[in-house]
Amino acid sequence: MMKRLILFLCSLCALCLSASAYDGGIKAKVVARQGRAPIAGAVVSLYSGQDLLSSQKTGAEGDFLFPDLKDGAYTLEVEADDYNSTRINVVVEQGLIRDLMFVTLSPARVRTEDVDASSFAEFDLDDSGYSDAPTILYGANDVYTDVVGYGFSAIRFKNRGYNSESQDVYLAGVPMNDAITGYSPYSLWSGLNEAMRAKDTSIGLEGSDWGNGRYNGMTNITALPSAVRPGWRFSVLSNSALYRLRLMATYASGELDNGWSYAVNASARLGGNDWVEGVYYRSFALYAGVGKRINDEHKISLMAFATPGQRGAQNASTQEVYDLMGDNMYNSNWGYQNGKVRNSRVRKTFEPVVALRYDYTPSDEFSAGATILYRCGYNGYTALDWYDAMDPRPDYYRNLPSYYYLEDEDYNRSNPEKAEWAKYAWTNHSKEFANYQHLNWDRLYNVNYNNPNGRSKYALEERRVDQRDLNLALNLKWLPTEAFNLKAGANFKVNRTENYKLLNDLLGGQYYLNIDSFAERDFASNEALVQNDLDYFLANGKAESITQGGKYGYDYLAQIRRANLWANGTYRKGGFVATLAGTVGYEAFWRDGLVRKGLFAGLDDNGKEIVYEGRTLTSYDDNGKVITSKGKSELSSFLTYSAKLGLAYELIGGHRFSANIGYFNDAPTFNQAFISARTRNTLVDGLTTVKTTSADVNYQFTNGGYSLRLTGFYTGIKDQSDVMSFYDDSQQSFTNFAMTGIDQRHLGLEFGVKVPLFVQGLSLSAVLSLGEYVYTSNPNMVQTIDNSAEVIRSESVPYWKSHPVYKVASYTDEGAAIYDQDAAGNYIVESEKKHYVPSTPQLASAIELNYRTNDYWFFELGGQYFAHSYLDMNPLYRTHLACGGGDGVETPAEVEYMAAQEEFNPAFVLNCSVGKSWQIQRKYYLGFSLEVNNMLNNRNIKTGGYEQTRLISSYGKDRYYRFDPKYFYMQGANYMLNIYFRF
């Protein structure tokens, strides 16, 4: 926009003749790019060549006027707090006052000049059981997003309670959300903060130039080489929360006179951290881009980037384990090998992305562009695999004292002496007991050494999800008048993702046998049924021996095709803005099994049943359809669409009122569509689109350093589905659980305010997010035995959205409740206790004191308070089965115990930061920032976790007890120091 303006002015300049009048001038209004809010107090400096002629501050409406100028060329420099400064060349001619109308400033994306500490965290959340996404990206000049976007990442705050997959992330105009899961794929460019810094962000229901988005904001990362900040830049970062060291170097040319632009960004992230043993980074990142502008109309950019490397992951454990270890940061994933720490769960990725972008700008009224983007490479995640050998995990429940003894006799765990032995092994933290508290790699190797023929009983598998993702995005922008503009586009995606296991490490053995140890639990005596690759078995008479690097276990393709057309139009009149947006799309997916599994042999290539040693392996479902693992599944296809309406009204003085409403009909994702994609082609019954209705109303105020936003929102999401697989003790089997019709409602307020205080440079910010995110339906569930596809239960999950609280008549001497009954003997329900959307505080607030000096020091001190965060629920505990126990009789005590949802304790966190930058010889800039988070070193803040699905049968087998849930905790006090140098 700015460049076009400059070009326009330059061309005027060429036409102009010098004149000698002195009554000319320049006037304009300085406004923010987004929302065109006036910027008061911006400093406007007028230069003629290198000489500063005059300087003034803009008025309340952002207006300024330089009168009494003689004809000639001038340069304006406009600077304002929180905005990127800009320079404009202006020609005054014929003694007229040039009215530039608007000078727009884009918001500074970092909190203080050149501190990239904040953007550090947005891309670097580790994957300790979470999706790799920041809470929200930096928005426009918005206090709320500024504080929340970075400051709430440690608590795993989810904006408005939404899942990460509802956040639309585009790169160079291409929707990048994962085709299989919908997750926003930040890990693709983590470590490339500089190259990916330029972006357009909208929040909530707002749309953008690149697409209509949905209800949880939309971000387009520009990624073009010409958008990378020009110059050299080097930084060294050290922190104690994730990894020790990050080194980063960037060079960008900016757009050169000859139209070329180049940019390179490289980084390395290395080392461990102070809190979680075994978690480490050895990640590298490289971005290279080249662009060429051809005669103002055409611009071609080519970018490629990748982030090869590996990261050690963290695991959740039960509170019992944390207490035994005296450490809520205990990580059960690692152990000693040869006396050195080795992590069993390592994410190994190399997923290069190449994009070619073409921009066509024939006129100021019309522009269009196209991007082709291709993503490939591999994404692996290692884990221990074992066959017919002891569970090697140190925190396996049978290794814990609670497995041997619990005070409540009804648990039937009654050997206190054995519990003492287990406790002794966990609580003695000298080296000789390390093998009881951590993985014992040396033992795993020795088991393999000793097995006849070199067969490995323990191995390290690598679960691979290898994507081939080809995208085409087209977009156009038409601005026929000041009052009306139209943006439209189309996106196409072809995704082929191979899911399989690789044998990463045989741990001292020679080979691993390709059989299914879970199937063997049920079918030990039927050799064909336990085969992972039945075709190999039938051809060779034995199971395949897998060597290092071999594929085994499962192997299937997820095939996804997606097309979307979108358009949005904006109409402005006076302070009134209306936007209407619509999207229509088609999505199809299917599974393509590449191996034949013994359990679900299906029909052979000639359509005949498969028989082995007199037993028919081919099996059928209740509808008489063959259950098959190999070949193509049925195709699932969905028509998707969405519509949005936005209205805004801007008043003079910096007030803005807006309201948005939208309806979305989205396809379910592949990973929620198959009952057990690992093993078979069976689709979830009743799969349908997810329907979302969302609305928000906003009030914004920006003036004189004050900034405020208040938003109220409502979102109703209907017909979500979910699948999971777990061991069900009541079935003594590994089972699949498919849930459909999961509805939830998100209702809440967002508030952010920034107030300048009495000392210049001092300001106070406060934010509040207060919501109620609840489940509003009892979904349907179908439970099947993983080994046979037999449907064992198909009903609703009765205590999913809430559970009853029964009326208590009195208490026994031991404190147990005696429940009141009505005349008919029924228990009396007093109220229903709601169940909440988990893993995010429903009340999150922060207050921050911010001080920056004229010589580029800044200081920040902030306090955060979080409450009403809930534990993720497993559906099994909300069924009649689990609440009824072995005798099938549900009592109030059982329901209130089994169906309840845990609420985490509220948490208070104190953070501070300090930074400074220096200019050296007017050419070099050196700066640092230091942050200390969680200064009070609070190590008892739960950030998430999950319930196990296991059940303990009571002594009399009349009721079930739960296994303890597993938690993740926020790290204690940690620092981050960043030093940078640029020129």
């Binding site: 020790r244 080795r342 017919d388 002891m390 054995k418 020795n446 079918f523 005596s525 003594q732």
Partner: protein, 377 residues
């Protein structure tokens, strides 16, 4: 400005080097990717204080003994849980007898190899018997090493806790697997025997000349196979209403045991429809056939009867009519292997190699694998 800059740089460098002091290499190579195999574990040598027979002689019927003396026994591992017929424990044997060590973990053959010498430091462990039943028709079970069971349900419990195991059960040299010895019929142990009185008890032995089926002269009935099933294993297994005893002759069971799949096959065939539900003195819960349901498509089901793997004891007789049960787990890999017709109809005899055990005074042979049962035509 210069000063501030200097201090900042200096303090940041100090910060960086503070942790670097420990070891830069460790900081940036915090974990190890496993390219170096760990050494082979060292084996131990200990001096046993007692033979297995000597230890067994310290057991008094009905009184599990929490061992409070320094007793070390030693023996060679004679069993394997690999084919799944032994589960969570193994036997060791010396010249005087064999004894089960109730470890309580699965996949034991990976850590305690057949043929490996094992030392058991018995202090703190518990010596007890499993399978004793009083009465003239019954007798001893097996003296075992386990841990105390405060519930009193069994005389011993499994060791289970890793530290408990590792501080009492030690691994010695790995040698050749145990060679079975042939037991002449005359040397078969009496119902009152233990390792202390018969050096065959608990050892890997071969018994020859066995004919299928055993006639119980006391109750005057032919016994061929025995299995105990539960209607619902999530409910109390001791309730009579939850139990189905398949026993006697004509049980229809012609496999060594039954996997879940095979059990369902037997059930659906209707061969057990006439079997009563409940304990022998309490047949008040109807018959298996009462649960039979046939839908419109002719599909048979037995809702309410759980499909689950089940262990089976098959009865054999020595030439002189001594009962030898061959007991096989439903979870073993050979559970569904058919017993040859020639064996079932008595035209062929078998030769069984396994652990010679006593259960309620009767001899039970527990084989390691199906190859330990040889058919002699």
């Amino acid at each position: 400005m210069g000063k501030t800059l200097k201090y900042t740089l200096l303090s940041s460098l100090l910060c960086l080097s503070a942790f670097s002091c420990t070891s830069i290499k460790e900081e940036f190579q915090p974990v190890f990717s496993g390219n170096e195999n760990p050494p082979h574990q060292q084996v131990v040598t200990m001096t046993p204080t007692h033979t297995i027979a000597e230890l067994a002689s310290l057991y008094k019927t009905g009184s599990p003994w929490k061992i409070d003396k320094n007793i070390v026994i030693s023996g060679i591992v004679s069993t394997t849980d690999q084919p799944g017929n032994f589960y969570k424990s193994f036997y060791i044997q010396d010249e005087t007898g064999g004894m089960e060590i109730k470890i309580g973990k699965n996949g034991l053959y990976n850590d305690y190899l057949p043929g490996q010498r094992i030392y058991v430091d018995c202090r703190e462990l518990c010596l007890g018997m499993y399978g004793y039943k009083s009465g003239t028709a019954y007798g001893n079970g097996m003296v075992q090493i386990g841990f105390s069971d405060p519930t009193g349900e069994y005389e011993t419990s499994y060791l289970e806790s890793s530290l408990l195991i590792d501080s009492h059960v030690f691994k010695g040299e790995i040698g050749p697997e145990v060679e079975p010895v042939v037991v002449p019929e005359s040397s078969l142990p009496a119902s009152t025997a233990t390792q202390a009185t018969s050096h065959y008890v608990g050892k890997l032995v071969t018994v020859k000349n066995l004919t299928y089926g055993w006639y119980d002269t006391r109750y005057k009935e032919q016994n061929e196979a025995f299995a105990l099933l539960y209607l619902n294993s999530n409910q109390n297994k001791k309730l009579s209403s939850n139990r189905i005893f398949i026993s006697g002759a004509g049980t229809g069971i012609n496999t060594w045991a039954m996997s879940k799949e095979k059990m369902a096959e037997y059930l659906y065939s209707g061969v057990w429809d006439e079997v009563s539900i409940g304990n022998a003195n309490d047949y008040n819960y109807g018959k298996v056939g009462d649960y039979r349901n046939v839908d419109a498509q002719g599909k048979v089901s037995y809702p309410g009867i759980e499909k689950a793997a089940a262990s089976v004891s098959h009865y054999f007789s020595t030439p002189n009519g001594t009962c030898i049960q061959v007991r096989t787990s439903g979870f073993s890999k050979f559970a569904d292997k058919a017993i040859p017709e020639s064996v079932l109809n008595g035209s062929a005899k078998v030769e069984v190699t396994g652990i010679l055990a006593l259960y309620q005074g009767k001899i039970q042979m527990v084989v390691n694998d199906i190859s330990d049962i040889k058919v002699v035509e």
